[in-house]
Structure formats: C-alpha cells, structure tokens
Amino acid sequence: MTGGAWTLRVLFSHWTRHPMQLATLLIGLMSATALLSGVQAINTQARLSYDRAAASFGGGATAMLVPAHATTVPQSLFSDLRRAGWLVSPVVEGRVRIDGRQIRLIGIEPISLPRGAGPAPSIDQAALQKFLAAEGQTLIAPETAREIAGTEGARLETDAGEPLPPLHLASELSPNLLVMDIAWAQRALRMPDRISRFLLDSAAAGERTPLADVAGDSLDLVDAGAQTDLQRLTASFHLNLTAFGLLSFLVGLFLVHSAIGLAFEQRLPMLRTLRACGVSPRGLLAALVVELVLLALVAGLGGVVSGFFLASALLPDVAASLRGLYGASVSGELGLAPQWWLAGLGMSIAGALLAAAHALVKVFRLPLLASAQPFAWQDAQRRWLRWQAVLACAAFVVAAVCLTLGTSLVAAFAVLGGILLGAALLLPPLLNLLLRAGEGMSRRPVAMWAWADSRQQLSGLSLALMALLLALAVNVGVGTMVGSFERTFNRWLDGRLSSEIYLVAKDPAQAAAIEADLRSRPDVDAVLPSARAETKLSGEQVEVLGLADHATYREFWPLLEFSPDVWDRVRDGTAILISEQLARRLNLHIGDRLRIPSSGEWIATVGGIYADYGNPKGQIIVNVDQLLHRFDNAERTRFGVRIAPAKVAALMAELQARFALGGTSLADQATVKAESRRIFSRTFAITAALNAFTLAVAGTALFTSLLTLGQARLPQLAPLWAIGLTRRRIAGLELLKTMLLALLTALLALPLGIIVAWCLIEVVNVKAFGWRLPLTIFPAQLGQLLIVAMIAALFATLLPTIKLARIKPITLLKIFADER
C-alpha cells in the first residue's frame, strides 16, 4: 500500500467509526441525485417520444412546405411542384377516432419520400410492396396496438365507419400514431385530394422554379430541424419539472454540505496530525477529493437506481398530463441510455465536490499550528453570517432586475431562484437577531443560557434550517398556487361547461338526425351545435371553436375583457373572441384586427378575451355557422344540450340506444367536468410528489444534523450537568431549543411561501402558460403545513434528545478528563 493509499485509509477510517455521519452524507447525495436524475429521466423519455414523433416521416426533422393560410392545399400542387424541380413528397395528417380514442393518422407516399425523411420506420423493398398493395398496411407501434386491442393483421374501422388497412406492428414508430398509404389516409380522414404538407428532399440539389411562381403565397418553406410544435408547447412543462428537480437537488446538497462540513470539523485534529506526520497539503487535498469521489460514486449509483424507480413511478402521471394537456404521446415505459447513468454519477460527483468546496479550501489553507478547536469553524461561520446577509441582498437585487427586465421563462425562474436563495441566505442572520433579542429579554440563568446556546448552535444547524425553509416555502408557494388555480379552474369550468349533455355524431348525416330528434323533444331546452377547426397564426397551431349564438354562452362564458355588443358581432362574423394565452402570445388587444387563415379570406376584430386555463394552444371562438362557412373540412357534428338536470340520464340512455352513441361520443356535464378535474390534478401530481420528497429531504437534513451535532455539543452540555441540571432536563432544553428554531424557521417560511406563490402565479405561469389567475391565500392550508413542519421537526429532534437523556455519566465525565 502506498503512502497515498494509507492516507486514504486513515480518512476512510473516520467513517467506519462514525457510520451515522456516513449515512447522512450518502443519503443526502443519493436523495439529491435520485430526485434530479429521476426528473431528467422523465424529461429525456418525453423528449425521446417527441423526437420519435418528429422523426415519423419528417415531423420536424425534414424540410417541409406547409400551407401558409389554410390547413390543407389541393393535391394538384404535388405534380406542379415536382415538375418545377421541387422534390417533394405529399403527407396528409389528421386525427381519427377508434373506439372513442383519438389517434393521429399520417398518410404518406413512400416512393417519393425524401432520404432521411425519418428513420422511423424505414420501409424496405419487400415491405414497400405490401404497403403499396391494394390491401395496404396500417403501421402501428406495438404499445398502441395493445392499447386498442389490435394484433398483427387485424382490420380496424374508425368510429366514423371508414375501414383501415390491416395492422402491421412497427416497434420504431411513435405511440398513438397510425401510418398508411396516402390514398387510404385521405379516405379515412375524409380529405379527398387534399395535402397537409409536403416533405422536401433538401439534400437533392437541382434547378428549381421559385416557390412563389409555382404555388403563389399558398406554401411556406420550413427548414429541417426547426423546433416542433410539441417541443415548443411542452418546453414550459419540462422547464417546470427541471426547476423542481434542481430545487430538490439543491436541498439534497444542503444535507451533503452539512454532513461534509461537520465531518471535516470533527476530523480537524486528525488532518493536522496527518500534516504533522508529513502528508503534504496537496497530497491531503488529493486524498480528500479521491475519498469524496469514491463516496459520491457509491451514493450516485444508489441515487441513479432510486431515480429510476422514482421516474418509473411518476412517468404514468406525467405521460397522462402531457397527453391531457398537449396531446403528446409519451411512452409510459422508461428506457435508460448509458449516458443517463453517467450523467447521474457525474451529478453526484459534481454535487459532492460543490458541497465540499468550502471545506476543501479550508483544509488546503489549514494552519498547522492552530490548536485543535472543534468549533473554530463555527467562529468563522459567525463572520460568514455578515457575508451571508450581503449575498442575500445581492440575490434579491438579481431577482428584482430579472423581474423588471426579464421577458423569458428562464428569467421568471431566475426571479424565483433569487428570492429563494436570498431568503435562505438571510435566514441565519435573521434567526441570530431574533435569538439575540430573546437572550436580551430573559432574566433567569438557564433561559439566558438556552437563548445564548441556541445562537451558538445556529451555525451547526443553519444549513439544515435553510433546507427546511426552502422546502416549506416551496410547499406553501406551490400549495397556494395549486389551490388558487383549483378554485379559479372550478369556477371557470362551471362557466365553460354549461350544457348538461355533450355529444359528437359519427358524421354530418347522423348529426342532422340527432339534431332533428333533439329539437323535436319538448323536454330539451336548447340544442347548441358547435364545430372545431385548426389554423395557424404567426406559425403557431391555433384551435378555432365555433359556438352557437345562445344566452347560455352570453351569460356564462368566462370573458376577461370584451367590447360592447360582442356576442352580436361574433354572431355576424365581424368579431371573434380569443383566449388569454393567444392574446399574450401575439400581443393582441380588444379592437385589434386579425387575419384568420381559412378556406377564404377572413379578417375579424378581436371583440373579447376569455380565460382558457389548461390549454397550451391558442384558441379563437367564432360563430358556428361562420366557422362551417369558412372552413371546408369543418363538420357540424358536435352538440351541447340544455335540459333539466333530472332528465339528463333518461335522455342519454335514449340517445345511446337510438344512435349507438357511446364511449367519448356522449357525456354528461358531470363526467366532462370530472375528466377535466382529473387531468388538472394529474398535472400537479408530479409537483406534489417532488414537494413531498423535498420536505422529506429537509426533515432528514435536520435529523442528521442534530444527530451529528449531538456528540460535538457534549462539551457545552457536560458543565451544565456538572453544576446540577439533570440529563433529562438538559435533553428537554435541547428539544425546546431545536423546536424553537424550527418554529421560527417555519414562521418565516409562511410569508416567503406566499411570495413564492405570487411569483409562480404572476411571473412564472404567465410566462410559461400565458394565463394569470387571482392569488388566493388559504389560512387553513398554511396552518396545516405549519403543524406538519413542527411534527417533522419533532421527529427529527426526538432520537437525538432521547440519546442525550440516556447518555451515560461516564461519557459526560470524559469531557473533563485530559485523556478524552
């Protein structure tokens, strides 16, 4: 064994004698790595799914020609473009319903597909023949086939009655997608002779007639590699997840920092002895770094494995949220790439080195002759309190600057980060002031000692208390934000879903029959037809919703701003309503004029802006007749039915029996609302889970700090025992002091949490989703969290207190002995 290895052995021998400290360090690193790598795994899995979708016949990986003003273009443009030297391949795209489930359908023309139009799935010569044969093929991912109970060769039919070619399983295809020959797809989507976009073989150079000369202004060229809609839409969601992951990582690192700091403090005499025996400062530093890296590798492995299980547990909820919110299909099964493992280990090592940086610098500069004072670092930390206050102010200034000047979501998170970091740094100086005030007011000697000792204890506990402050504040902030959102969302849902029954007919013929039937019934108060279409505004996909002109909407629709007679002008087609997020994104205001790409030219005035929570896409509301008139593909197949609530069940049963409506084609208001609320709550499920984990990590930090400090604090407590305080009383005082510190921290966390909630609602949400909601404070929720925090603190304090109450007198006597 070399000298370096011996030094390392000595360093490791400390951990074998202090297993609790080792556990703290490993738990901290493991938690930090697990939470962040878990979130990263979820994000990576989602992005892989987006990439698979994007790679499916040129989703975003291939250059494209897309309709400039409408949703489709005539098929005749295909031959015009080819003749003009544009090596394009036509694609038709839409959604079909199979057993009530919406599935994306893409129709391709495989012979003209550009090279590299997407590796998923490649079609070889043999497969091509089958694909193009009269019988054709429907390519489908195995997991989607399982979900719709389809097997290889099975023939499916859409809910509208259109037959599809036999299924062929293609594992590389993205989920919730069907791919078939374009002719089959046009039939299934009822888009005869229409093309959604052209894939362009940009690698093939050659003479081309200018695009405008061939297609006028009907087509836009989109370069390869442009961000897909899904990537853009979900970016905020993933940024939110990453931010929470980073916060959890930070709280975990507090725990690591605390453990490492205490371990170094306890090892100071040993480190001095090593130096005195001839270990050079560089050699000692190298050994400490190697020790840390080895520990971080072990913890990192554990963290990555835990992160995998965490991500596996959370992924179904995240996938459901992404499907519900964005229509994004994310596989619920987690795939793990080697780089994910490496990144996890890297995170653990970097986190450990970051958390230990301060301690390592101190060891490098360690004065050899200073006598072994176990609390020398705490004296230095007292000086550091002043610096912390200065740094806290700097963090607040950064937050203020980002709030004033920032426009992006990253700036919004910087505001949040600045506030949280500043508050955490300010906590120890603030607690120090409060404890000093308490000390000044106390008269009895034991009370004076308790206040003074709490101040001395503060430096050892400050990191754990900072972690507790952050965890509690984020819990309060997110809880208040979710509560505010839930209350607003429920009111909004009541306004949006005012019809008692919602139904979707298979086709216009069935729709006409249903409408006639409903209108002939005396118990039906109103039949409200609606229709949907899609268009693009400033390159973004926008939903167009057509509503009937009826008092139901005039009375209940959640308008935020509107002009006089807005509903009359919507009915006439001169005005439209736009969603809040679309207004923010395109900077539109009441009275602005908007050109809406449709089958013809349509320019309308913005007459109102309404709340549309939970919808990442922009939305426009027009009169249903106007929509059917201006969008060729739109169908009058959706209806809302107003009827007395008592008669809902009977009418639904009758409609089901007469028109074979089922699944998602027919739903009552309560079901739709329940589904919306389910999606809403799933959206915040992962946030709630990360919140709970963060709080648990903070509780562990407090527990382990107290446990580790327990031994180091004996020299302060032994004299009290010697002068006549019983061990039980000393333990009781210790419990009281720690609970007091936890209570003060929790009380400070409440207003900080409300600031965090304000920041989330007024800054982050507005930038991430484009909507703003009123902030509501829930005192009962705050009280509940305060109690949870105190219970967590009590649990964290209990074991160290019991240990202290049962400490053997011989251990206390050793404090006074020279040979200790």
Binding site: W6, V10, T273, C277, P281
Partner: protein, 217 residues
C-alpha cells in the same frame, strides 16, 4: 546534524510585534539527546515548531544535515517531516479512528519505510503488544503517549522532536515514558530534542539547554 543559527521569530499582536525568539543558536549532534528547558512563554515550543517546519522563522537558518528547513517549500518540508523527523506532542495527537497497530505504523507506511520486525520490537519495548487491536480512546494517557512515541520512531527518523511529551501524565508515568523514549532513541541511533519544563526529566537526557525570554541562556 541539526544546526540552528541566529533564529528570530516574532508574532504580530494588537500593540505591535511580540518577539518570541531572538538570535537563537543551537546544535544537536547525531545520536545526542538534548533537553530544551525554560519557563512558560519562553519560546520552547515555537523553536520546536520552526525546526519541524510547521512555521516560518523571520530570520536565521535551520539545517538538518544538508536540508535548510526554512528555505524549503511546503511540500518539501512535509517530505522532511515524513522521512527524517519524528514528532511527539503533549496532546498525543493519535488518529482516533485507527487501531493502535495502524497508528504505530502510520508514518512509516506513508514514508514507505515500514519494517515489520522493527514495528514488533517497538510494540514489545513500549509494552503495547497486547493493545494493538484497541482504539486510542480505549487506552490510558500513558499508553497513548507510548503509541505516539512508537509512531515517531517507526520510520527510524534522524531526529525526534518531542514537545512536552509528559505534560499530560503523572510523575511516575512521565518518568517511565521518557526513559522508554531515550532508550529507544539510543537503540535506533537517532537524535532527540525534547522540550520540557521539568529539570528532573531534563536530567535524564545527554545535555540540557535553557531558553529564557527568547534567548539561549
């Protein structure tokens, strides 16, 4: 073997500079044991720390054979301590997480000069053979100091520097420990410089020199 010439050391205090050592000259021959006596605050420990390269002098030279300690870098001084010196402190400064056997061997191991036979002999002569599997906290003060002496001698250093090695021990144990140390130093052929304020203990060594007010008397 050890030559200290015109050594000066002072510390800064709020009211100015406090001179601790003034033009100190000292020599220790190979195989010689020298007791450095003096009252508290006379600069004995400071002189020892400077010789060990634990601190820097303001002026003067310290020569350990061919090595001029005061002009060496931090890493070179560490190497000298590791390979050529043995240090014994009043507070023992054992590594609490290592067993007695590993504490004894530690410095020799990191200097790559471990000699199992010499280690066994040291343990025997120090009366530690039955205690090798114990941790320092399980030993008495006298036993701990014997481990510290063993550690200092395990790599057969040229010079052992002992700073009040019996300060924490009772009189009988102190005599026993110093006797052991001098015997072992002689057996290993190295030199010894021991700081003590006990004239009785100083008389057990070959020679004695007295430091008062920072000067050799």
């Amino acid at each position: 073997m050890l030559t200290v010439s015109r050594l000066n050391k002072s510390y800064r205090i709020p009211s100015g500079a406090l001179s601790v050592l003034r033009d100190v000259n000292l020599q220790v021959a190979r195989g010689e044991s020298l007791a450095l006596t003096g009252e508290s605050g006379s600069g004995k420990s400071t002189l020892l720390h400077l010789i060990a390269g634990l601190d820097d002098p303001d002026a003067g030279t310290i020569l350990l054979d061919d090595a001029q300690i005061s002009s060496l870098s931090e890493n070179e001084r560490a190497r000298v301590r590791r390979d050529r010196l043995g240090l014994v402190f009043q507070q023992f400064n054992l590594i609490p997480s290592l067993k007695v056997a590993d504490n004894l061997a530690f410095q020799a191991r990191i200097a790559d000069r471990f000699d199992a036979a010499w280690q066994r002999e040291l343990a025997d002569r120090l009366g530690l053979s039955d205690l090798l599997d114990r941790y320092p906290e399980q030993l008495s003060g006298g036993q701990q100091q014997r481990v510290a002496i063993g550690r200092a001698l395990a790599n057969r250093p040229q010079l052992v520097l002992a700073d009040e090695p019996t300060g924490n021990l009772d009189e009988a144990t102190a005599d026993e420990v110093v006797q052991l140390m001098t015997d072992l130093v002689k057996a290993s052929g190295c030199s010894l410089l021991m700081v003590t304020h006990s004239m009785r203990l100083a008389s057990l060594l070959d020679r004695r020199t007295h430091l008062t007010g920072g000067r050799i008397a």
